[in-house]
Amino acid sequence: MSEHENKSAGEVHHELHSHLPPEPALRVKAMESLLVEKGMLDTDTVDAWIEVYAEKVGPKSGARIVAKAWVDPAFREQLLENGTQAVKELDDAGWAVAHLKVIENTPHLHNLVVCTLCSCYPHAILGPPPNWYKMAAYRSRAVRDPRGVLDEFGVRLADDIELLVWDSTSELRYLVLPERPGGTEGWDEEKLASIVTRNSMIGTQRDLSLDEGAS
């Protein structure tokens, strides 16, 4: 067994801090070659995961779910009732998270999602979270000064709009269902999905712009 068996994780981190090269790229390279030598990693599998998250999984998956909820009332109802089951039944089943909770914005209500303790986020539907979602400024302020945070994102929330901030402290994963903007009557799902942004599904955007869909 290791000589580090009885050390706390904090002590091990201290040693790693002292001995590892400071540049992240060098650390990654060393870790990858060691894991391969240890028989714990297949580099082709690394490539496959990168391809999935760089090209396939991302906010477009979430946008499709939102667009479908806008045009299909039965799907919307099921999505709000049991998000995991509703998404599982879409044709690209598998992009689901096990415990998806969809929270709906209305003209009188706005939802904002944060993880103050780490970075919980519906990766399988939105891709990897943005850095700001994982950093101290957002995590500390979203629960205490959400209107100030929203203001920095350009969202001026009227005083009479109720604001709910969801701190993702468990394995439940929250996805905001933004409001369908006016002027999109008759649009098909694909065109509707094209105007749904990542931030609108986190809650750091409220009003969607029609520009992208019109182009």
Binding site: S2, E5, A9, V12, H13, E15, L16, H19, L20, P24, A25, V28, K29, A30, M31, S33, L34, E37, K38, G39, M40, L41, D42, D44, T45, V46, A48, I50, A54, G58, P59, T84, K88, A93, A96, V97, A98, H99, T116, L117, C118, S119, N131, K134, A136, R139, S140, R141, V143, R144, V149, E152, L163, L164, V165, W166, T169, S170, L172, R198
Partner: protein, 217 residues
């Protein structure tokens, strides 16, 4: 643990970087680190909560300043050292001094598609019936303990209202210590003005909290 990770409500961190480019990865090393973490063979006693607890114990200055995926990798490195799978020297040099870890074969590329086909890993487990109902007023525990917990410090000792009863889920405080036990989970709504009075706040904060974090108020 009352660590640096417990950031809710802390002040002084400045503005949010709202101009960050919207892309999955900002550099090759970020993508590589993400891929490695998803692809690597984990020790049999690995749990998400154990990983989280390990990350929480990164040196506070590193936690606030080192890049996110770099912290992921360092946490996996620490887990490997703790499990006796690798030494700090091996991790620093990138070369094995001892033979392969006997953890079984590394996941192959085919596993990626298979894992994507699953609807995610479930954390729900059979457990006791919930003690609280929607509408009940509950008081959160005033303090935590030195291990991993999902009861943030900003919400301790406050009264909230049960908004949803979610079923029984793996209890993270035990899971981080290698014990799998389920407890009823609730979404509890708190008035921000109760947590931070005198700041003119009108919003609600909702947290997912396990039964043993709560008492009937």
């Amino acid at each position: 643990m009352d660590g640096i990770h417990d950031l809710g409500g802390k002040q002084g961190f400045g503005r949010v970087d709202v101009d960050e480019p919207e892309e999955a990865f900002h550099s090759d090393w970020e993508a590589r680190a993400y891929g490695i973490v998803r692809a690597m063979k984990k020790a049999p006693d690995w749990t998400l909560d154990k990983f989280r607890f390990t990350r929480e114990q990164i040196e506070p200055a590193d936690y606030l300043t080192r890049p996110y995926y770099d912290q992921w990798l360092q946490s996996y490195a620490a887990l490997m050292v703790g499990a006796g799978v690798a030494s700090v020297e091996e991790i620093a040099s990138g070369h094995a001094k001892t033979g392969p870890a006997s953890l079984g074969p590394a996941p192959d590329p085919v596993s990626v598609a298979a894992e994507q086909k699953q609807a995610g890993v479930t954390f729900a487990r059979p457990g006791s019936a919930p003690a609280f109902s929607v509408g009940d007023k509950v008081l959160t525990k005033p303090h935590a303990h030195g291990g991993h917990t999902r009861l943030p410090s900003y919400i301790r000792g406050h009264i909230g209202e049960i908004a949803h009863v979610r079923g029984a889920f793996i209890f993270p405080d035990d899971s981080a210590a290698g014990i799998e036990r389920a407890e009823p989970l609730y979404t509890v709504a708190f008035k921000a003005s109760d947590i931070w009075p005198g700041e003119g706040l009108s919003h609600m904060v909702l947290l997912d909290l396990w039964e043993s974090y709560l008492d009937l108020a």
